[in-house]
């Protein structure tokens, strides 16, 4: 008997060529990180360390505009300052901690420096107390441009990480599905982000409307009613309808997000095995409820112009009924189709919990996503 080599059971795995993007991603990540280090971190650290440096008097002994080595038209300020520390005569030329990469101020900035530090000027420099040969004239760590260039570096590093992670997907290990710890499942309701988005949208829109309404009332009170106010009223009424719609949507989303929910304590990390018993503990059951195991198919298709998807509930199996907090035991049939997930085709399972009263419109109707895998040992053919 022969065994297949390199068995790959990750059906959602992208093309094996996805790994080709890793070098590009890493190049962006490295370039972005180098930029962040050079522009922000290194000068910032130097600035931090230099806060304990000693300030001593110094004199500018050279102040001139020179061409930057290797550049014919890039003028930079060349400043040399002399200082004395414990009887030793020393000199320094470091102006600040700014990276040369953002010294883009050109001749104008260089001339300003020359004007600020003319030859013979007595000023103050900062020296390292342990190594007085290290000195700096100003403890700045760069112009405002550093945030722009550093931010660009951050974006590069971020994009590089995302591309590398995407490329690494084919090599990520498939999640272990045996002997996982029990988990407490919350119903699959609208996410916090959706709820906050509705709330923020409602407050923003209606806040503006309220502000305009107050201004309108104050204007009428001070100046009396004019025919233009009637137009403003009609205009405002139209936007108020949208505001009311947003308000109802926000209230609905809040209710959906905040209403009490039954929690399910489920074994093996919400991974259910076919042919094996499923034990569930229901918490916060306040009314008689029914639990069902539901199978849903989902298909995604793209054409040149659109991206569409469709879902269909294809199977429903009764798990049991409860009227109070307690445990449910259910023997999962062996012949159920396991969960399947590829890039565009999905077979998913969820536990659906509904209140028994009012079957048409139950007060409680929540779903808890689970994963169904093949359990037991099938008989050989």
């Amino acid at each position: 008997m022969s065994v297949l080599r390199k068995i790959d059971l990750d059906f959602s795995r992208p093309s094996k060529w996805a790994g080709c993007v890793i070098p590009f991603g890493l190049a962006f990540l490295l370039a972005g990180s180098a930029l962040i280090w050079e522009i922000l971190l290194h000068p910032g650290l130097q600035r931090l360390v230099s806060s304990s440096w000693t300030a001593i008097p110094c004199q500018i002994v050279r102040s001139e505009l020179v061409k930057k080595p290797g550049h014919d038209s890039w003028m930079i300020a060349r400043l040399v300052y002399a200082y004395e520390f414990k009887g030793r005569k020393l000199s320094g030329s470091r102006i600040d901690f700014q990276s040369e990469l953002i010294g883009l101020g050109g001749a104008g900035e260089a001339q300003n420096l020359i004007a600020e530090y003319p030859l013979g000027k007595n000023t103050v420099c900062f020296i390292h107390p342990g190594d007085p040969s290290q000195a700096v004239l100003r403890r700045d760590w760069g112009a405002g441009a550093k945030w722009f260039v550093g931010g660009f570096g951050f974006l590069m590093a971020l994009a590089g990480s995302a591309v590398s992670m995407q490329g690494l997907r084919p090599w990520r290990s498939v999640r272990r599905k045996e002997n996982l710890p029990p988990v407490l499942l919350q119903p699959d309701r609208k996410s916090t982000g959706t709820w906050l988005a509705w709330l923020a949208g409602c407050l923003f829109w209606n806040g503006i409307l309220l502000g305009l309404l107050i201004c309108w009332i104050l204007k009428i009170r001070d100046q009396g009613f004019a025919w233009t106010d009637a137009l403003a009223f009609l205009f405002g009424a139209f936007f108020s309808v949208i505001g009311l719609g947003l308000l109802f949507a926000a209230i609905g989303a809040s209710w959906d997000f905040l209403r009490p929910a039954v929690k399910l304590l489920i074994e093996n990390g919400a991974v259910i095995k076919t042919g094996e018993p499923l034990r569930l503990r229901c918490i916060d059951v306040r009314q008689p409820v029914r639990l069902e195991l539901i199978c849903t198919e989902k298909a995604i298709w793209n054409d040149t112009r659109s991206h569409s998807d469709e879902e269909a509930e294809v199977m429903s199996i009764s798990v049991g009924e409860l009227s109070d907090d307690g445990e449910l035991r259910f023997d999962v049939p062996f012949d159920l189709m396991p969960s399947f997930k590829s890039q565009c085709n999905f077979i998913t399972w969820r536990l659906r919990l509904r209140s028994l009263e009012d079957a048409e419109k139950p007060a409680l109707d929540d779903s808890y996503p689970v994963e169904l895998i093949r359990g037991g040992s099938p008989c050989p053919s």
């Binding site: 297949l4 080599r5 042919g275 298909a299 189709m337 396991p338």
Partner: protein, 123 residues
């Protein structure tokens, strides 16, 4: 023109079961190897997708010949499925890897059975 034929003892198998068959080839030159692959594909409403779960390489020492094989189907693969929106289909593909020539290939659809009973005395 190279010829390849694939005969399976049964066109259906349980996950974890064995699939027996015979492959015969008749090529102008000796193939470097024969490759048997267990492949899946989806059909239905969504975008069609496909993939290979695993391969088996058989040595080949002549331009013409015949070999029997017995393949162990991985136990955790999803069974063949025909749903309302999504269908999952399986096939065995045989390929003769020819040096400096187009490979010759043939495939047979198989059913990975989903309705199985737990072992007697099991859970």
């Amino acid at each position: 023109m190279p010829e390849l034929s694939l005969v399976l003892e049964s066109s259906s198998c349980l996950p974890g079961g064995n699939l027996r068959g015979r492959i015969s080839w008749d090529c102008a030159k000796t193939p470097r190897r024969l490759i048997l692959a267990l492949k899946w594909r989806t059909e239905g409403r969504g975008n069609a997708e496909s993939g290979c779960v695993g391969e088996l390489h058989l040595p080949c020492r002549a331009a013409k010949g015949e070999a029997e094989f017995e393949l162990e189907i991985p136990p955790r693969i999803p069974p063949s499925y025909r749903g309302r929106l999504v269908s999952i289909l399986w096939q065995i593909e045989a390929r003769a890897d020819l040096a400096f020539a187009f490979d010759c290939e043939i495939s047979r659809d198989i059913d990975i059975l989903g309705v199985v009973s737990p072992e007697p005395g099991g859970r």
